[in-house]
């Protein structure tokens, strides 16, 4: 199945008060979509890893294990994935973080200390990374120094482009994803597309709203609801291919605008090189890791 997509960012129910689906359900759905590999990147813990790996085995899917952590600040996130054969490095780094901090926040100091482990990991910087916050605030130089600061601590650092088809200006809009892709191309940083999955079905959105409100110890309302729509579900390969097209087009518009010499209609001219830069994760064997 050469055209199958690999989801690299998935929060299951083991992401407490965040994800809504069991790892088994997610694996079963991926198998229905004929996906050949699947990642689990729960928030701040690896508790779902064994169940996830076991169900992957029973469905003949290659498991990729990872974790999503707070990085430097509580609010800024980084996703780490174990390279093939290097799962122990992920566990050792996470143990190192948990035994040396009270809040589980990864810092540069910890990265320097546990460098021999982080060197075997792949890091993804997504919409909630400080890099992306700087990009949103048009601080491109600061975003680039965010990247350079951590580049040498990991095997690979990739920019994660996520579109939940939200309104322009939102964190997970196609425009924002396109902006980060254009940045990645400009500075020759690898870029991947993920869907930051939090649920199995499109219709599970209200469950996510309850979890968000619960985590914030508040009532459900506009202030606690984080999502705009029900797009953070496990999408099939065709839907992810569609998003990749949309994000690549948006990135083309940013490139054209910054060069100032291409009219809007000329954006498709740049489209294919951009689309190829955006790795659909199945194209890249580096991103396939087994425990």
């Amino acid at each position: 199945m050469s055209n199958s997509f690999t989801h690299l960012s998935i929060s299951s129910g083991y992401s407490f008060k965040y994800g809504s689906a069991h790892p088994e359900q997610l694996v079963e759905r991926a198998a229905q979509f004929k996906m050949t590999s699947l990642a689990l990147t729960d928030q701040n813990n690896l508790a779902g890893a064994i169940r996830f790996a076991q169900s992957c085995e029973s469905f003949g899917i290659k498991p990729i294990l990872g974790i999503t952590l707070s990085f430097i600040q509580k609010s800024s996130k980084i996703t780490l994935l174990a390279k093939s054969g290097c799962l122990s490095s992920l566990y050792r780094l996470v143990s190192g973080i948990n035994t040396n901090t009270s809040d589980g926040v990864l810092t540069i100091e910890l990265l320097e200390r546990f460098n021999q482990y982080s060197k075997n990991l792949i890091a993804l910087l997504g919409p909630q990374s400080s890099l992306n916050k700087n990009l949103t605030n048009r601080k491109e130089a600061a975003a680039l120094s965010n990247y350079q600061l951590i580049k040498e601590h990991f095997d690979t650092v990739a920019i994660e482009c996520v579109s939940h088809l939200e309104r322009a200006g939102n964190l997970r809009s196609t425009q924002a994803a396109g902006k980060s892709l254009a940045f990645a191309i400009k500075h020759q940083i690898p870029a991947v597309i993920t869907n930051q999955v939090r649920m199995l079905e499109k219709s599970d959105g209200p469950v996510i709203d309850v979890l968000d409100a619960n985590r914030k110890l508040s009532f459900i309302g506009s202030a606690t609801v984080e999502r705009s729509n029900g797009e953070a579900y496990l999408k099939d390969s065709a839907s992810m291919g569609y998003l990749a097209d949309q994000i690549a087009r948006a990135a083309g518009e940013f490139q054209s605008a910054s060069r100032g010499k291409y009219p809007a209609g000329a954006r498709d001219h740049h489209y294919w090189p951009i689309r190829f830069h955006l790795l659909l994760p199945n194209c890249c064997p580096n991103y396939r890791c087994s425990p």
Binding site: H164, L165, E166, R167, A168, N170, S173, T174, Q175, S203, G205, P206, D209, I220, G221, S222, R227, S228, N229, G230, E231
Partner: protein, 106 residues
């Protein structure tokens, strides 16, 4: 610039006199009537998906979530965009403008 909304829910901010008069095969809006004037959509700037505030309307504990697709479009009243032929005569350095119909088959 107007924000067209196809699935007109009973939300209060939907303009009362808005009618989508033409939709493409793919379900995309093409023309609409706004305050009695027919508009043709020239360019779709952005689209997005947004769910309703389901927690505000809970009927007997049943959760009903609905999703709307939005288009932000640039549209002009029909008849406003006209095709012209502009001629520049290089001998006399003079300009001439005449209304024209579009050439469909080259």
């Amino acid at each position: 610039m107007f924000e067209g909304k196809l699935t007109s829910s009973n939300g209060g901010n939907t303009p009362a006199q808005t009618v989508i008069s033409q939709v493409s095969e793919g379900g995309e809006p093409v023309e609409f009537i706004y305050n009695g004037v027919r508009f043709h959509i020239n360019e779709k700037l952005t689209t997005w998906l947004q769910t309703n505030d389901w927690w505000k309307k809970l009927d007997q504990g049943e959760v009903k979530e609905s999703v709307s697709k939005y288009w932000q479009v640039e549209a002009a009243p029909i008849g406003v965009i006209t095709t012209f032929e502009i001629e520049f005569n290089q001998e006399s350095n003079s300009w001439r403008i005449t209304p024209s119909s579009r050439v469909k088959n080259k």
